[in-house]
């Protein structure tokens, strides 16, 4: 790998240096990246944008620009799915934010260094792990014939993994570790002096948290929540492997529409739904980035 890498690192630089001095190599080294992204990302993105606004007339084969796809994507079953996705992501992200904060606080204030390292490493691993294996691990545990379901008789108590709350429970498995990773630096940034100063002024433990710690943590917490929301919102593999389509989610609807399960004249509705998702994900990033910058100020 190193051998192939170095070939590419080297090739552009000396040639350019001879010809035009020192400024050109950067362009030459960056150009391949930009070209590949333009082809592999730009063309599909442009196709999605274009398709979201066009319909094809079945009889004539002519295409025309219209808002019909977008309005269609915000109606009926599609609207239900969009709202279902937003609700599921918001609920699981909120729960994960609270639980992640508690877990991170328990770990950060612990005297055992090894425990801290272990939890942070495990969080790094678990946060990167969603998808198919996670779905099957939970199906084997809490699914209809899962180990816990059978041994504890959960089915008689009305438990159903293939539901809204079941999915939320599964999502927490990668959302909580993500929150721990996000919030730990902020918790470490809380200076002991602030707590001591508050105590010297007669503040109780609760007052310290309410008036000092939480306001300082607020941008990090909100930023973490938004990041978690985006992560849960985009998740498809876990839901698809687990529930099929029994829970209305926008990702499942897009997959369904891509596989051809749409009404005549709505072939491009999957693209309109995708555009809806991109807009929401863009909104998430637009909220997240300023918050991240704001919280970084306190940690400097």
């Amino acid at each position: 790998m190193t051998a192939t890498l170095t070939g590419a690192t080297e090739a552009p630089a000396p040639v350019a240096e001879r010809r035009r001095g020192r400024r050109t190599p950067a362009w030459l080294a960056v150009a391949p990246l930009l070209v590949v992204v333009a082809v592999a990302f730009g063309i599909p993105a442009a196709a999605m944008l274009n398709g979201a606004f066009t319909v094809k007339d079945q009889a004539t084969g002519a295409t025309s620009y219209t808002m019909a796809n977008l309005t269609g994507s915000l109606q009926g079953a599609y609207l239900t799915a969009l709202l279902g996705s937003v609700e599921l992501s918001a609920v699981s992200a909120a729960v994960a934010t609270v639980l992640g904060l508690l877990l991170a606080q328990a770990v950060v204030t612990s005297r055992f260094r090894a425990l801290r390292e272990a939890v942070l490493t495990a969080s790094g691993v678990l946060a990167n792990f969603g998808g198919v294996p996670l779905a099957f691990a939970f199906v084997a545990t809490l699914g209809n014939s899962g180990v816990l379901t059978q041994h504890l008789g959960l089915k008689d108590m009305g438990w159903d993994l293939y539901s809204f709350s079941g999915l939320a429970l599964v999502y927490l498995y990668f959302l909580i570790p993500l929150m721990v990773l996000t919030i730990t630096p902020a918790l470490e940034g809380l200076r002991t002096q602030w707590r001591e100063a508050a105590q010297n002024n007669g503040a109780t433990h609760a007052q310290y948290w309410r008036h000092v710690a939480l306001p300082v943590l607020a941008p990090s917490l909100l930023g973490g929540f938004v990041l978690l929301f985006g992560s849960a919102f985009a998740a498809y593999a876990t839901a698809a492997a687990m529930v099929g389509s029994s829970v209305p989610l926008i990702t499942l609807q897009i997959a369904d529409a891509l596989s051809g399960n749409v009404l005549v004249g709505q072939e491009n509705v999957a693209l309109a739904l995708s555009l809806d998702m991109v807009l929401i994900a863009g909104l998430v990033m637009a909220v997240y980035l300023p918050l991240q910058r704001r919280s970084a100020r306190w940690l400097a």
Partner: protein
């Protein structure tokens, strides 16, 4: 803080329970057949149709993706450290773009583009390109998609590695010792990036091996898609394979974390020395 201790242990205990029980239960589920223990689900994995081919395909895709993404990103990132400050935000934005487009929306765009082949280009030589990149034995279109999806991770990993070393000073030092520009980059900069390169490669590997959305919706069958496909007929084996793939992925990521942890102190020291 002493009075908080019981609460802290309760939090840690509950967390351990939540994160460990699904794993333990999966193992029990995969070996328990009507009350007796059997390891059939594990021993039969290799012989099951599609296992070897899907795993090989996933590994090939991972190798190609890692090679391509590093070939594109390493020269670009190193060059940006050496100059061209105006290009830096461009690359940053380009590498963050995939975060705004969820995989499912990305694949919707890709499948639209792939439909252009038969629709618009079927009588041109260009059509062959569409056929070639969708070859089910080695779908290049997946490699391109995965490269795009890996960009944010690779960017973050390489950026962290490059932050820890002072590239211009390193190159100048090597040059003043008589190294050519090539040698300086090859023998001074790259070895210092080994940790970051490993990091980027592992994250990309984990991404490609676990990727389901794009491969499934474009109709290919690498490893993750195969697991779902067999789950209908062989539930136990799909869980067994999930457990194994989890353990392998975690082992890889733990190795990575251990490497990163050991390197961290020496990095800060070298940084303190190189930047006045």
């Amino acid at each position: 803080m002493a009075r908080l201790t019981p609460g802290r242990w309760a939090v840690l205990g509950l967390a351990a329970l939540y994160f460990l029980v699904p794993l333990g239960a999966s193992v029990i589920f995969s070996v328990d057949v009507n009350g007796s223990i059997t390891f059939d689900a594990y021993s039969q994995i290799v012989g099951t149709g599609g296992f070897v081919s899907s795993l090989v395909l996933a590994l090939e895709l991972a190798a190609a993706t890692i090679t391509l993404v590093l070939l594109l990103m390493v020269p670009a990132m190193v060059a940006l450290r050496l100059g061209a400050p105006r290009l830096r935000p461009v690359v940053e934005v380009v590498c963050a773009l995939p975060l705004v487009v969820p995989p499912i929306a990305f694949v919707a765009g890709i499948s639209t583009v792939l439909k252009w082949g038969p629709d618009h280009f079927s009588r041109t030589p260009f059509f062959q390109t569409f056929v070639a990149i969708q070859n089910p034995d080695f779908p290049i279109v997946l490699v391109l998609a995965y490269v795009v999806m890996a960009l944010p991770f690779v960017h973050r990993a390489l950026d962290a590695g490059l932050r820890a070393i002072d590239v211009p000073t390193l190159v100048e030092a090597a040059r003043s010792c008589g190294a050519s520009r090539t040698q300086a980059l090859l023998q001074a900069v790259l070895p210092n990036l080994r940790g970051a390169l490993l990091n980027a490669s592992f994250l990309t590997l984990a991404l490609v091996l676990g990727e389901y959305t794009v491969a499934h919706l474009l109709g290919f069958q690498p490893f993750a898609v195969w697991i779902v496909d067999i789950s209908g007929s062989q539930a136990q084996m799909s869980v067994a394979v999930s457990v194994l793939s989890l353990l392998v992925t975690w082992a890889l990521l733990l190795v990575l974390a251990a490497l990163g942890g050991r390197r961290a102190p020496s990095r800060t020291v070298s940084r303190g020395m190189t930047t006045p």
